[in-house]
Amino acid sequence: MHNPTFETTTMTRVREKGQRGERQEKSPPSSSQTSARTFWDMKVAVIVERDDDGERLIRELQRMRCGVHHEWPMPQQVPAQFDAIFCALTDDLPQRLPWLPGEPAAALIVVDHGKGALDLTLLHNCAPHAVLTYPSTGRAAQASLAVARSHFLYERRLRSRIDKLDDSLRTTRSVERAKSLLIRVKKVSEEEAYNYLRRQAMERRVTIGAVANAIIDSYDLLG
């Protein structure tokens, strides 16, 4: 992996200087890679006070071509329908987050005002994807957004992988059962039974698990 932060900065500069497209073509075109384009039109909520630091953060996000939505004072419930949320780290932030820990609806970057001792328990309870500490730089804002978003997506991929694994575990059992039914009832070999299941799945354009379950169910109905 190349260094995303470095690439991001470079590309932004390239665009700002208004240079021609040749150099951009050389960079990875895929939109799923982290590049400056990743942030274009990303919906970002910013829930911080509009002081100097806040203004700087908003300006940087706008410069990154994010769609910025600012809100202050902090609403009772932090809005969730964004790709990423910058939110001031307040004592009651965990209660204001609209999701349960472990089921975040957006990448969360908590914004620490940088004064006094950092409350690590509070930080843990917010379960953020990144932290931005004031006084911040444009570079830090960029990095925190990139890291938070990639962590959020990575978590989501892992969760969906676990769901799929759970699911295939059950499917495997059904396929095994259907196979042994076919071997018994149709008096075929194990391989023939499996091929039969696969063929049926292809012809009917359904999953092999669905075919297996249908066979098991219908066999049960026949009694």
Partner: protein, 420 residues
């Protein structure tokens, strides 16, 4: 519990020294301390969370789990607490609503600063708590049988999984009553998954499922009559019920109202305990079958004393049951572990509890080190006219948990029935 006391003097010490507890300032020793005070120089309570419904359609059984939990905590505190510090429960009532379990688990961990939670009956409530304890790294102790096929590094499961109840139940039913089974269930995760496994067992053992019907969770009495009429028409040998909550009472009562006979066509269940039998009426429950790791009537001294203490506290009429027993023994397993670790840190607690053994009212049990599920006893009982279960089958020792059903045989074995 005896085991805990034994642990206290010996092994517990070494670990205390290594893993000095999180810094809680010296507060002076607890009065009743048992003289092993080096690291327990504070009387600050060990705070834990408790989530069982006292209201809503799951209240009948969850209330008993709450009692089991609080009884264990009180007994531990009355004999000096854990390393001189009492256990202090924060108790919430999620009102039988799965989403409230998730919300309250968050509140316990975030606002109350608790990391260990005892709770949950239904699988939907467990699944609601799961992301919270996983993300914030808490430890949920789950004292209820469930459908298996789950593993989380943040849960200790102390109820039975299918290899510890369904397999033997299926064998007993087919042997005693016949191979034709009708499924009735509440419409949520546990019954559907549990029936999938039961169906596989029945089919592979030459039996058949002659009908299947689901009623919504929290269904009213009137919704069970049509179901039971359907059952009556199908004339199975056995009804396998995965109905939970208030519905259990309605189901068995509808059965009785239709004049069906449990001697020929009983309802078999993994969830109908002494608590539900009491709620439906002993006459209604008599003759029906339940598989469970524990029944109040099992004869051993440890259980008799547990039952005596429970009745003394809650009244002579109050029966114990498997969910109550699991709730009770898991708090004791926790306390015994805590005594060794002297730390509520999830990583440390979990590492220490895995593989540990414990003398529970049901017999000796262990926390399976691979799965974090308890190795439990398998028993099948038939309800009698006193609302108690007479044993029809009992395993020779506790059965290793196999939540993913990896090692069990796909059909019921040929072992002879140990009829009581």
């Amino acid at each position: 519990m005896p085991a805990r006391r034994k642990m206290a003097a010996g092994r517990g010490r070494g670990k205390n020294d290594q893993r000095q507890q999180e810094a809680v300032g010296p507060r002076g020793n607890e009065e009743r301390e048992r003289g092993l005070t080096r690291s327990s120089n504070t009387s600050e309570p060990w705070r834990v969370g408790v989530l069982f419904s006292r209201t809503g359609f799951m209240a009948v059984i969850e209330e008993t789990q709450l009692r089991g939990t609080l009884t264990a905590i009180d007994e531990i505190n009355n004999s000096g607490g854990v390393n001189g510090r009492p256990i202090e429960p924060t108790v919430y009532d999620p009102g039988s609503e799965a989403r409230a379990f998730g919300r309250l688990a968050k509140r316990l961990m975030v606002e109350d600063g608790v990391s260990t939670i005892f709770g949950c009956y239904t699988s939907s409530s467990r699944k609601a708590v799961l992301p919270v304890v996983e993300r914030l790294n808490g430890l949920l102790w789950y004292p209820t049988l469930y459908e298996g096929f789950e593993f989380s590094p943040n849960v200790i499961y102390t109820g039975a999984t299918p290899n510890q109840n369904s397999v033997e139940l299926c064998r007993v039913l087919m042997k005693l009553y016949g191979p034709r089974v009708f499924f009735v269930g509440s419409d949520y995760i546990y019954p559907r998954e549990s029936n999938r496994i039961m169906r596989e067992l029945i089919r592979n053992s030459g039996g058949s499922v002659v009908g299947e019907s689901y009623v919504r969770l929290g269904a009213t009495r009137s919704e069970f009559l049509p179901v039971m009429r359907e059952v009556k028409k199908a004339q199975p040998d056995v009804i396998f019920s995965t109905v939970v909550g208030d519905g259990t009472v309605f189901l068995y009562q509808a059965y009785a109202d239709l004049g069906l006979d449990p001697k020929v066509m009983p309802i078999a269940s993994l969830t109908t305990t002494e608590a539900e039998i009491r709620a439906m009426g002993f006459d209604v429950g008599e003759g029906h079958i339940t598989a469970a790791p524990y029944f109040q009537g099992i004869g051993n001294e440890r259980n008799s004393s547990f039952v005596r203490r429970y009745k003394k506290r809650y009244g002579e009429d109050e029966p114990t049951n498997m969910c109550l027993e699991a709730s009770y023994f898991q708090v004791n397993v926790f306390a015994k572990t805590l005594e060794e670790t002297n730390s509520m840190d999830t990583e440390i607690l979990r590492a220490s509890v895995m593989g540990s053994e414990f003398e529970a009212p049901q017999g000796n049990v262990a926390i399976n080190p691979i799965w974090g599920h308890a190795d439990l006893w398998t028993r099948v009982g038939r309800a009698n006219s006193l609302g108690q279960f007479d044993l029809v089958y009992e395993s020779p020792s506790c059965v290793a948990a196999d939540p993913y059903l990896i090692g069990y045989s796909r059909s019921i074995g040929q072992r002879s029935l140990a009829l009581a």
